[in-house]
Each structure stands twice: as C-alpha cells, then as structure tokens.
Symmetry: D2
Subunit: 287 residues, 4 copies
C-alpha cells in the first residue's frame, strides 16, 4: 500500500507519570517517524495524561498493520488506553434525522465537497419527509415510523442497518427520538448529537421557546457525544449568537439553525480528524 | 436653567393600539420638539407597545418641569406607564461589594473617566477589605459584618444610607449576600447584579466550578435586575468567551473577571442612558 | 387581492427636519394603518433622516396600488427619496458563480427551505462546473466562458438574461469576475457580493493568503453592495472567527467558507426583508 | 533556593528535523523532570519547529542556574534559538502613556490584583496628565514633553530609566509617539503596543474615524510587538465587537476602549506567562 502523505494518529490516555512524552517520542524516533503534530494535556487534579500525536507513515520503519503490536509493550507499561488511526481511512457515517433538513444538507454537502474525509452510506428517519434529499445525494434511506410500541423493534432494524454498513459514526442531525441505552453503549463516544441551546442552559425540549421566555440576549448550540443521560454527554463544541427583544420564537428558531448546522459540522469534522479524547464525561479537543 | 444640548427621554409602555406613534410624535412636533432618537417595539403576542423617544429641550415650547403634566392626558388616553428623564441629571449610584475588587474598580474608574454620567457617593460591603479602594476615590464606605442574625438590622442601616444619599441605582458588584424582598421591592428595576455565568446555565453558587465540571467550551456573564427570585430577574446584558480543556477552575475564574466587569459596566451604562424598559420579567434594550 | 397578513414597508431618506416622524405616522394613522415596526436614524453630522416603517395592509383605507400616489405629496414636501415594498412580493434573484459551490448551495437551500421569500430563476457562471447544482434545483443555468476579449459581448447576454427574468437582485456568490460599470449602475444597490475578508483589511485577491502571511488572529467575511470601485461598496454585514498559528492557508480557506456563506445569506436576507437603506456609501441596517 | 511549585519553561525554535521532541523529552526525563505542559508547532512550509515545554523544578536533578549549560549541547546539535524562564521571576514592566488612562489603570490594577506576575516600577509619559494615577499606585513617573526637536534627547533619558529599573518589558498603553529604531532594536520582541483597530485594517492614525467613515459593522483592537515598521509588527492578540450605523465616532471610541484594555492586558499576560514565540514577523501563541 502507498503511504505517500498518509499519517498515523495515536490518541492515548493514562495515569500521569514521568517519562510518558519521552517514551512515546522515543518509540517514534527510533522507528524513523516524523512527527507533524503532537499535543498533550495533563489533568493535574485527576492525575490523567492525554496525548495526540500524528506522524508520517512515509519512511516509518514499522508497517502500518504492525504498529499496534509494536506499540503494545509501551502502552502496557504505562497502562494506556489508546486508538490508532490512519488518515487514508474514510470513516463511515450514518445520519439520523426527523423532519428538519438543514443539518442533513450541511453534512451531505460537506462530504460531497470533500471537506469531510468520510463516507455517508446511510440516512435513517422516523419520518418520510427527507427521503428525496437523501436519494438526491445517492444515499440509502430508511423510514421507520417509530412509536413507543414499535420503538424496540425498529431499533433492532436500525442496529442491523448500522452493522451492514460498517458504520463508524452516528450523527443525530435533529433526530427527535431518544436512543436506547443498548444502542448508545454499542456506539460509545461515536454518536454525535446537536442540541439547539447553549447547554446546560435550556436542556430538554423547545429550547428556543425557553430562551425567548427567559429573555436571554445570546442563544447557542451545543454538539455533544450521546450518553444514556439526555443532554448530559461530553460537550464537543459550542457557539453562540446575539439576539434581542425583537426576535420572536420563530426568529430565534430560524437564526439558530445557522448555528446548529455549523456547530454540528465542526464537531463531526473534529471527530473525523481524530482530535477528540473523552474522559470523565468531558472532551479534550486538540486543535 | 440652560437647556443647551440637554435632551428629554420618554420611556413608555402600554397596550398596543393604532395611533400611538402618531399621538406621541404629534405631541412633540406641536410643541416644537426635535426628535433625535426614537425606537419602539411591539410584543405582538402579549399586545404590548413599548417606546423610547428622545428630543432636544432647546426650543421645546414646554418648560421641563411642566412636560410631565402636559403629557399626562395622552398617557391617560392610552393607558401608558411612563418615565421622563433629562440628560443633565446624573443618577446617584450605591455600589455593594464583598471582597472582590475588579468590578468596583471598573465602575469607579468609568465614573471618574466620565464614561458614566453618574455620581457614586456610597460603597457598602459586608467585608472591610475594599475600604481603601473606596476611600482612594473619595467615596464614603460602610462596613456591615452581616451574619444571618444581624442581617435584618444591618439592612435597615443600608436602607438609611441609600435614602440619605438619594440613591437612584444600586449596583451589586460581586456582592455575595442576598437582599431582602423588602429592599428589592423598594428599588424595583433599580438594582443591577452581575452573575458570573451565562444564565440560566449555572445559576446559584460557584458557577465556574460548575462550568469546569461540565466541560463547557464557552463561559459567560450575565447582568440582570434583581428580583425576589434569586438569579431569575430580567436579563440586561450577557457576553461569553471561549475556553478549553486547558482552563482550570482558577483560569476560568481569572478569565471570567474580564467578562464580569465589562458586562456589568455595559448594563449600568444602558441603565444610565435610559435605554432599558422592563416588562414581563424581560428587558427591551433600545440601542 | 387578499391583504390578509400582508404588510407594506416604506423605506425613506431625506434632509432632517422637525415633523418628519409626526408627518409619516399621521399619514398612516389617518388611513387606519396599524404600524407593526418603525425604526429611524438621524445622521446628525450630515443632517440626513432615514426611516423604515412597516404596517398591515389589512383595514388600510388606501388600496395598495394607490398608496404611492397618496404618499407623494408628503414625500415631496420633505424632499424624500423613498421605496414602497409589499411583503407578498417575492423578489427575483440571479446568482452569479464561478467554481466554488458552498455559497450557491447555501442560497438555493435557503430559498427551497422558504427561509428566503424569493424566487431564484437564474444562475450564470464563467465556468461550467456548477451546472449540475443549478439543474438539480431546477434553475436555468448559463455558462459564458468570459475572457478579456469576450467579456463585453457576454455581459450583453447576461444583461439580456437578467431582463428576461425580471431580476430584482443579483448575488455574486464567489463570482471571480469584475462586472462592468454599466451593469453595476443598472443594478445600483441591487448587487450583493461576498468578499472573503474583514474589509477593508485584505481587499483584492487571495485574502486568506494575505491573512496567513500577516499572522492575524481573527479572519472575517464581508457582504457589500457592489459599486464601480472594487471592494469599496457599502458594507451590509460582516462576521469573524478566531484562528491561530496552527491554521494553514488551506485551513483558513476551509474555515472561512462557513463565514462566507453565512454572512452572504444574512445580507441577502436583510435585503429581501427590506431592512437596508444606503446613503453616503454606507448602509443603515434596521434590525 | 526553594523550588516548591516553581516551574522552568523552555521556549525554542529551530530548523525542523526528526528527533527533536524525543531529544528534548529525553533530556528532561533523564534529569527527572516532570513535564506539566508541552506544546509544539511545525511550520511545514518554512521548515521551522517551535516548542514550549514547562516542567517542575522540584526533584529536577540539575540546579536551576546550571540548566542552561546542561541544555546547550542539545541546543547546539539542533541549531536552536532558545529562552529559559523560571516562574518565580517577576518580569519588570515599564508603561509608556500619553493622556488616556484606561489602559494604564487596567495594567496597574491587574498587577496589584496579582493577575500579572510582574513588577511595574516605572511609568513614562509625554504628557503630565497621568502622573497622579501612577503616584496613586506608588509608581515612579517621568514626564518628558517630547517634541520633534527634543525627541532624541528625551529618548536617551527614557533608555536610562529603562536600564536603571532593569526593565524586561515595555508596554505602550496608548502612547502616541513613535519610538526610535534604536530603542526598538534594544527591546526586540519586548515592546507591546495596543492599536485601536483590527489590523491591518485602519493602520495609522484615527482608526475609529476611518471605521466610521467606511461604515464597518465590526470594530477591533490589536496588540502586537513593536518593530521598526509602524503597525506592522507580529500580532499577539486581537478582538472585535459589533457596531452599527447608530454608533458615532465618539461611540466607537468609547466602546473601543473596552476592547483596547482587554486585548492589551491579554497580550501582556501571554508574554508574562512565556506563551509567545516570534518568527517570520508572526507569533506562535501556545495556549
């Protein structure tokens, strides 16, 4: 396989101690690795060390398929959790939607414009409305009219779809259903949701109504990984915009869509670039 | 009295109906008033009309002390609540503080630099620490070591101080005590507080600890009028700044101070310029 | 014609003098007009008064086709320049593009999602690349391979297209050609361009290269009306985002696209809502 | 000397090559250094590697006064430019001002509140106005009524003052004079200026007038190191705020002051924390 311009990225976390940076950088140096990005963070309070290091595969002495094995002894020594990613692998995304189209379009367009290094083979919805959008982009679409009664059965079909398509990342692009704990645990730290408020303010439903009612001067949007607790998962990215008394609920909703789609797209982009580490229900986002 | 460059500002609210703008503008025009700013807002949902209109006293046919009387019939006809303010009156501010000095300095400096058209004759604290700061600016300082037991007695002395100094506006500049319902109702919509979070997120104590714990990517500050319900009063101004996993609680606290003082100063400035109308626990801020 | 929920908007500017607000509001009140928004601005230095007033056609005594005529005497008296718009008219937009698709998609999608009250019957380009995008949305596409030699001839064809389609507004959505003074003057204050920098910084070509070279910490985008002087027209809207030393020119370009499309869409939206008045090469944007 | 909680920070830059990270981290590890922050940047285009690494002196095997010597062989091998700083050294700042006081107060207050780890023994001005402010904080003040004729003579006295006070950092806090090339070169990358615009827009004088004239929707402030070319030095920090047609030049000036003082304070803070590396007329700001 051609390794020209391909990079490997190691994301790791472990108990903090001396020699970690020296250990990892020596491993790469002795195998002729050219580091192009390295960043680290120490949570002094919890005693946790987190690192992201990216290097060129070109001229690296260990073949890509054997890097994990070669790194294992060091990882074991320092009790590391770690992931290894290669930049020429395009993760496979499933998008779950309901009726609103702005986030879906945003993701499909960015993928088509090659801003995302990803495949999007699958769109699933609990409403039929966005089928034409998915098909317009040549993406398989499944409509499951989920009700409390049918939810469990349909989730099995969703899981089957996800597996058949080898999905790496699930994006909830204004998906107005709560996923089961089972599905969430199967895709731990691999489900990104966009919440249309500046969490933790206005968690739950109808955040723009809540914001209007409260008379806030700034509204926001939050992209986060989904956990079993609603709207409580690790925050990946947030942004805000100023509003005023002139803005009705409809105005807030309309203006908020711009933030929602941009914030969601940024979060997906960070995930795809392997910039995010999760610990203690928080994210470390290496820029 | 010399009216050169002096303006009058009318702030009014009433049930919405036709003829309001025409009525007010005809009143001013027929008395030879030159409008220099006029702004209005209609809350269509609640059927409320709010207006701010500012005109030059120079050449205005009605003497300033009789404008209220002359306006009354129109106000009655439309069932208006209204305030009349003159730009050459410098409102009198009392600042309540605890131990932190950055907001106190900010307000004292803006007054001294003449950014605020106001007098600051009084600083009150439940700690003695900031006495030198107040005295440095030649401002009377009272220290009341409030405890649950002494609270009621000390508030009487605070009220007396406020009255003796003809205070128009109370600013809580990191005052870590809750005011009594009695004091609050006496200075309704005339007490401004700075809360060091993006309300309604992280209401209550230790907001920077909460923000750090939750792993948010943006922190904020909120200036609001004080009502009997803690942290629930009408929001005047908010601002935010980006933070990251690198920021400890101490970093958030330090960075947040910049926002706190700027947001508080902006809110006080808007109040002093008579730009704010309150209704339905919300503000209309005419810019 | 059904006037239910239809509004009329008057945008006017004239030399400042007393009685303007009273005159306009009396005109509306005496004809039973219900004002739903009114905003004004006085440029004291230049002595210019500008106003936007919007009222319901329902129950208005003057039929819509005769409002202009009825307003004329007042307009003459005060020497006003004025425009009258009705909310049920959907302006007709032509989009000019080159090769980049993100702004084109943004505009087409907003129109399709009904965020824009507008028709988009025409896309014109100096490259064939985006023909499929236009056709996908059912929009007529013309490809004119403009060169210095053919420019004049092709502009005649563009003008013909614009006229045949009764175009009200031209949007340059990353159109990498300079329009002739003739075309610009025919669509004065009706051509909106997006410039990928925070004007006046980095006017001219390759702004992201310039920004990277200069090492700025914030990049921006600017939407403006096109005038004969390149990048010098009245600014409608701007926005910015933080960047760092880590961002390469490619990163700036990629990140900047988000701002470009959002800022351009906001400017078009403000134009379509008749919120903008131009004077002295500046805009007044009534929010 | 007690090294409890004291850290050493190494700021280095050199031609990029393999083994740099490994070399530095091995040096620290073998001397029992506990890294608490490490960050690096590679400018791939220019082939330059830049790094900031901070470690605890506690338990470090090399005494602080011999660290430089011990590091030298590695630095030589990689052809590094480097600085070594200790966190218990408080740099000495001279502030140069003219008539405006907001930035001066901001810096003096932050030092007094211990937000800055620094001493401020010296304020110099070409006007006498701010002498009381300096003296109020117990800081030596020199007034030099600089004119084109006397400039050269007074700069000699300024230089003498700087040397006598062992000044490490000069801050131009709205100092309305241009420094000589000689003084600038003596304090290369150690003079911070605040420019009241979003550079490179509105370089030169009267930026708020220029911004108002141009009708921009956002204004900014820029802190940069001073070089011989006016307003062209490496940018450290920038920020912006929204403005509108309602803002007069006076409003822009007043509002801009908030940004100026905050941006200047942030830049000084970054310098004091040894977070900035300069190369190629740009800064790398390690956050």
């Amino acid at each position: 396989m051609n390794n020209k311009n391909v990079t490997a990225t190691l994301l790791l976390s472990c108990p903090d101690r001396k020699g970690l940076v020296a250990g990892v950088s020596a491993f790469l140096y002795h195998n002729n690795g050219n580091i192009i990005h390295a960043d680290q963070h120490t949570d002094a309070e919890k005693g946790i060390f987190l690192q992201r290091v990216e290097w060129e595969l070109k001229d690296f002495k260990i073949p890509r398929e054997r890097i994990g094995e070669a790194f294992s002894p060091l990882a074991k020594k320092f009790n590391m959790k770690w992931h290894l990613r290669f930049s020429d692998y395009a993760p496979r995304i499933a998008i779950l939607v309901s009726k609103e189209e702005h986030c879906l379009y945003e993701l499909l367009l960015r993928q088509r414009m090659k801003e995302f290094n990803a495949e999007i083979p699958l769109v699933i919805s609990n409403h039929p409305d966005l089928q034409p959008v998915a098909e317009n982009f040549g993406v398989e679409f499944h409509y499951y009219p989920i009700t409390p009664k049918t939810k469990s059965a349909y989730e099995k079909r969703i899981l089957k779809n996800l597996e058949e398509h080898d999905i790496d990342l699930i994006v909830l692009a204004k998906y107005m259903q709560v996923l089961s704990a089972n599905l969430i645990s199967k895709y731990s730290n691999r489900i990104i949701n966009i919440h249309h408020s500046f969490l933790p303010a206005f968690a739950g439903g109808k955040p723009y109504h809540q914001a209007h009612q409260r008379g806030v001067k700034i509204i926001g949007a939050t992209a986060h990984y989904v956990t079993a607790e609603l709207d409580q998962g690790p925050i990946i990215e947030q942004d805000v915009m100023r509003v005023s008394h002139r803005d009705s609920v409809e105005d807030l909703t309309r203006k908020g869509k711009d933030m929602e789609k941009i914030v969601l797209a940024r979060a997906v982009d960070l995930h795809l670039r392997n910039k995010i580490l999760v610990y203690d229900n928080k994210t470390v986002v290496f820029d």
